[in-house]
């Protein structure tokens, strides 16, 4: 249905959008909230899954209802 109508998937499924710029910047959209935050790990709750960003000196540059920007040295992005 979604594919035949060519609707945006993030809207229809409520999928999380993760935009990574190099190793130092990450932008997350379509999320519910933060579950855990430490300089080594940020765990974010999305509609269907959890995203866990691991790295060093992680910092949330800004945090709004729509999007969140994370900077620092990113080592891994894991979906649970």
């Amino acid at each position: 249905m979604v594919e035949t109508l060519e609707l945006p998937k993030d809207l229809m499924y409520g999928a999380v959008l993760v935009t990574v710029t190099g190793q130092r910047e990450l932008l997350i959209e379509n999320y519910r909230g933060i579950l855990e935050y430490s300089p080594e790990c940020i765990r974010i709750q999305a509609k269907n899954c959890q995203v866990c960003v691991q790295g060093k000196t992680l910092l949330i540059q800004y945090y709004t209802n729509e999007e969140m920007k994370i900077s620092g040295i990113i080592k891994s992005i894991q979906y649970d």
Binding site: I34, Y37, I60, Y63, T64, N65
Partner: protein, 415 residues
């Protein structure tokens, strides 16, 4: 940049959140569209920046999540306003300052002149002053294009001008026609002139370029005698003078002459001996009136006074109508002293040397020196003659010649 300015205007705070569920508190903030930035994890909770309007909405969330909020630092204009709420005059002062700045920015405070070489800056500034386009004139009163035209009309040698106002600065750019000056000079040369001897002497060498030479080499001449005439005789077929042509005489002439030298001075003289006592007095000159600052009288019987004038200025050329005057008084006593024979001789020699240098400045060579320096008990005298050789001639207007005979007859007939 714009964003940080907006943040500053609306005010923001650095806060620390600690307690049971700080993450839930953050999620609640984001769900209610409260902006949070620079979120950092600390041991007991989180630290972040939050807008002032956001802080006011936080109370129910704190209760819900059982967290505590601590304001660490306040930033922004609302807090500055709050701090200075009792200093209304200070704020008024700031407002007056900006108003004043705005008012003053409507006038010309700096004038820059570029591209002029024969017309001096001062000359142009005076002209601008006379045209009411000088310092302190309102910008709207200056019409740049008419000013450009006025400059061009007033100064013949200026062929192109540009007047431009940027900020409070008036820039005048000019281009000068340097060729006209030369032409004028050439015209001046056309006026007929003789070359006459500037002093008595002997002509050693003479090469005539234009004009009629009246004397020969090795001839003795007297001061004022015509060496080369600016009048050229026109001779017809009968070898008779039919008329005259005038020109500006030009020649290379070397005249040898003897200059007498005499220099006498007394051996005793009065020397100023400075005691080292000094005093300073100040005065202010305002609109042509001098107002001394009362600091007591200078009681030195003999003193040397040096006055220093200082005129404060804005930018590079705009002098304020105030002159600061500083008088330096240095006390001295006069002591009678006498030169020794050696000193006197040295002084006489230095006088002679200065005299030589003065002569040589005029392109005159010194061929022979015959000066004897004599020092007796009270006087030192240097006497003698100096033989010099050089272009010792000057120009003079051509003496009105007699009209040729036939021309005179023709003139009589007309009458």
């Amino acid at each position: 940049m714009v964003l940080s300015f907006i943040k500053y205007l609306s005010g923001y705070v650095r806060v620390q959140v600690t307690g049971y569920a700080p993450e839930r508190f953050l999620n609640l903030c984001s769900n209610h569209d409260i902006l949070i930035w620079d979120l950092v994890h600390i041991e007991s909770g989180y630290e972040f920046f939050i807008s002032l309007s956001g802080v006011r909405e936080l109370k129910p969330f704190l209760k819900k999540t059982k967290t505590h909020l601590k304001i660490l630092k306040r930033y922004g204009f609302p807090f500055v306003m709050f701090r200075y709420r009792k200093r209304k005059l200070f704020l008024g002062g700031i407002a007056v300052f900006f108003l004043f700045l705005f008012f003053l920015s409507r006038f010309i405070w700096n004038i820059e002149i570029l591209g002029n070489s024969s017309v001096t800056d001062d000359n142009l500034l005076q002209f601008l002053e006379a045209e009411h386009c000088g310092f302190g004139v309102a910008k709207k009163e200056i019409d740049c294009s008419s000013l450009e035209e006025k400059i061009r009309l007033h100064y013949g040698q200026i062929i192109w001008t540009s007047a431009q106002i940027s900020g409070t600065k008036l820039t005048i750019q000019v281009k000068e026609n340097l060729i006209t000056g030369e032409k004028k000079e050439e015209k001046g040369k056309e006026e007929p002139r003789d070359l006459v001897a500037a002093c008595d002497g002997t002509v050693l060498k003479m090469i005539t370029r234009t004009g009629t030479p009246l004397i020969q080499e090795q001839a003795k001449v007297k001061k004022g005698e015509v060496l080369v005439s600016g009048r050229i005789d026109l001779i017809d077929d009968n070898q008779e003078v039919s008329g005259y042509e005038y020109c500006r005489a030009d020649a290379d002439i070397q005249i040898q002459t003897k200059l007498p030298y005499r220099d006498t001075f007394s051996l005793s003289y009065e020397k100023k001996h400075f005691t080292g006592n000094q005093k300073k007095r100040y005065a202010v000159e305002l609109f042509g009136h001098i107002y001394p600052i009362p600091m007591g009288k200078v009681t030195y019987p003999k003193s040397e006074k040096t006055t220093e004038y200082r005129q404060p200025r804005l930018c590079s050329d705009f002098y304020l109508p105030v002159v600061l005057q500083t008088d330096h008084y240095a006390e001295y006593q006069t002591v009678s002293e006498k030169y020794t024979k050696k000193e006197a001789k040295t002084i006489a020699e230095s006088h002679l040397q200065t005299y030589f240098e003065k002569i040589q400045e005029k392109n005159v060579q010194i061929q022979e020196k015959n000066v004897i320096i004599d020092v007796n008990d009270n006087l030192c005298s240097a006497k003698g003659t100096i033989t010099v050789c050089g272009p010792l001639y000057q120009t003079a207007p051509v003496a009105e010649p007699e009209k040729p005979a036939d021309e005179r007859v023709a003139a009589d007939e007309l009458e």
